[in-house]
């Protein structure tokens, strides 16, 4: 009996030590973000020389970096926030609505044409963007899909693969009887989909939605090639062009903008953490 208590105590001690070790690793893990916060309040010249020191009286810049950051790189930061938001919301909405509709049709009708579309979708998931980037940007230009209000169509096309794949998988697990009952009650296919099937798809809608939001918000290469970047810059494009446009870069202002761009991401993460982790894991295992 004594022996068992001893092993229990040892086990407890071991767990406490593990917790402590992990806590230390966690602190190290967030240091890069802490460094961004610290440096966004420092004057430019001190960012490189005293990267890891807290701002001193000498190096403290107050909110100057944020103020210069607003118009930094000859482009208003507010515009890139606006364009990123518009593109992310529109693209995600288009993908969720049209891909769930198509997936339901594919799963339920399963004609030869449906199967071709489905396998093309699966295939498109393994095609790297570099394969299509040149021709896709030319096609988008020719069709005038090069504005923040029309580029969501490009996202719908290139992102359809994963979304349809995930939706079809889920629709197949819904028993057909529910839809049959709706049909017997006189529901047409359109009403059946929107008032019976769509509510049942909610968990998958959330998972796919989160994957698409994370993809579109952070995407750099597709918008930089498709949009007219003198006019329209998303946040990643803006940050990349801060470095590209000058020989020397105001690192303080860059860090201020990086901080401003990761605050919404972290807030979104903390608010929807459970869904995000579930969605990401679902996308990983399937795709």
């Amino acid at each position: 009996m004594m022996n068992k208590e001893q092993t229990l105590a040892a086990e407890q001690r071991r767990k406490t030590i593990l917790s402590a070790v992990l806590a230390v690793i966690c602190v190290i893990y967030v240091l890069p973000v802490v460094a961004v916060v610290i440096n966004s309040f420092k004057q430019n010249t001190f960012v490189k020389t005293e990267t890891f020191a807290l701002p001193t009286e000498q190096s403290y810049a107050g909110f100057d970096n944020f103020i210069t950051g607003m118009t930094f790189g000859n482009y208003p930061f507010a515009s890139s926030v606006l364009y990123s938001t518009v593109i992310t919301i529109l693209s995600t909405a288009l993908i969720l609505i049209f891909c769930s509709m198509a997936a339901w049709y594919i799963a339920r009708v399963s004609s030869k044409f449906c199967k071709i579309i489905y396998y093309l979708c699966v295939f498109s998931m393994v095609v790297p963007f570099q394969m299509v980037m040149f021709t896709l940007s030319k096609t988008a230009d020719a069709l005038k899909l090069n504005t923040p209000w029309t580029i969501p169509i490009v996202y719908l096309g290139f992102g359809a693969g994963l979304a349809i794949f995930m939706f079809v998988g889920f629709v197949k697990s819904i028993p057909l009887e529910i839809e049959e009952a709706a049909a017997i009650d006189g529901c047409g296919p359109v009403r059946t989909f929107f008032s019976v099937v769509l509510p049942m798809l909610k968990p998958t809608l959330i998972s796919v939605g989160i994957l698409e939001i994370m993809w579109v918000w952070n995407d750099y290469l597709l918008p930089v090639l498709v949009l007219d970047i003198n006019q329209y810059r998303t946040i990643p494009i803006h940050i990349q062009y801060l470095k590209g446009s000058y020989g020397t870069v105001d690192l303080g202002a860059t860090m201020a903008l990086i901080l401003l761009s990761i605050i919404p991401v972290i807030a979104f993460y903390l608010a929807a953490q459970k869904h995000i982790i579930k969605g990401v894991a679902a996308g990983a295992v399937k795709g």
């Binding site: 992990l22 967030v30 960012v47 009708v109 980037m133 839809e179 049909a183 296919p189 750099y220 295992v285």
Partner: protein, 297 residues
């Protein structure tokens, strides 16, 4: 019952334009047409698209003979393999510890996953500031040294992806049957024996998925590569051409398309097709594996 099914199906078919139309149209614009046009153009010489002239396999010959492309292939393979090993070992260790019922495991999980949401370009600039902050003390920069550039990218990739793989490993570890672990304990197995003889064989599917994922992630890496080093430093070859020493495949293709001049766009497209075959090969192997596993279950 079969007749209800059929009548529903034919009623649904009348609405195909609504259900399939938008996605099919966008899919053709966003994927199908660019994909096939890309394959066609890889056999052509062109500056714009309208002036394309078939040149057979010329582009492929030039692409394969390009020293910078060969270099980026080996550099990418090395980066992908090293990051694969490190990411998976670290992610598995963290997941294993977090599933031991320790205090604060939810908070730890939250923190480790967080970097995953930050975009590649932003990640690259965060880490370039940090590395340059460290290297400034030695009067150098991550842009000046290939070795630092390599390990810098590896550290960045680990920071970003360990949390992601950790989530998959946690799900796998939680699915290991409790009674199996219990039985091993009763039979007197040590912790290490239980880990290697019971736990790891049971999470083998998660391990395989994570390995495929980190391998394809490594091969496709672009944003982080562009933002952290942009391929620098470069060396000049005896024949006058330059090789960017930390440039990965995706960035090499991008540079051939957009910075090497319009004359070699066909070569760039041929490189892109080779790249596609590589990545798709890895991806299809993963899909086939996942499928087989689903059938077995």
């Amino acid at each position: 019952m079969a007749s209800t099914k059929n009548s529903i199906r034919s009623a649904t078919r009348r609405w195909s334009w609504l259900f399939l139309g938008p996605v099919v149209a966008a899919f053709i614009i966003g994927f199908v047409w660019p994909f096939f046009q890309g394959i066609y153009l890889s056999f052509c010489r062109f500056k714009l698209i309208s002036d394309a002239q078939l040149t057979g396999l010329d582009n492929y010959g030039q692409a394969l003979a390009d020293i910078s492309f060969q270099h980026s292939f080996w550099y990418t393979a090395l980066t992908a393999v090293v990051s694969l090993v490190l990411i998976n070992v670290l992610a598995f260790m963290v997941a294993y510890v977090l599933t031991q019922n320790i205090k604060g495991s939810n908070l730890f999980r939250t923190v480790f996953f967080m970097p995953n949401l930050i975009g590649g370009i932003v990640l690259g600039y965060i880490w370039s500031m940090i590395f340059d902050g460290i290297l400034a003390a030695y009067n150098t920069s991550i842009l000046l040294n290939t070795t630092y550039g390599f390990w810098g990218l590896i550290i960045l990739m680990c920071w970003q992806q360990v949390g992601y793989m950790m989530i998959i490993y946690i799900a796998g570890l939680q699915a290991v049957p409790e009674d199996m672990l219990e039985a091993a304990k009763i039979d007197g197995a040590t912790k290490w024996q239980t880990l290697f003889k019971v736990t790891i064989p049971n999470v083998m599917p998660s391990i395989t998925i994570c390995m495929f994922l980190s391998l394809t992630n490594g091969f496709k890496l672009f944003d982080q590569n562009l933002a952290l080093t942009g391929g620098l430093p470069y060396i000049i070859q005896p024949d006058g051409s330059t090789v960017n020493t930390t440039e990965m495949l995706a960035l090499n293709i991008y540079n051939t398309f957009y910075t090497a001049g319009a004359g070699v766009r066909g070569v760039a497209q041929a490189k892109a097709v080779i790249f596609f075959i590589l990545v798709a090969g890895l991806g299809l192997a993963q899909l086939a594996y996942t499928r087989r596993r689903e059938v077995q279950q």
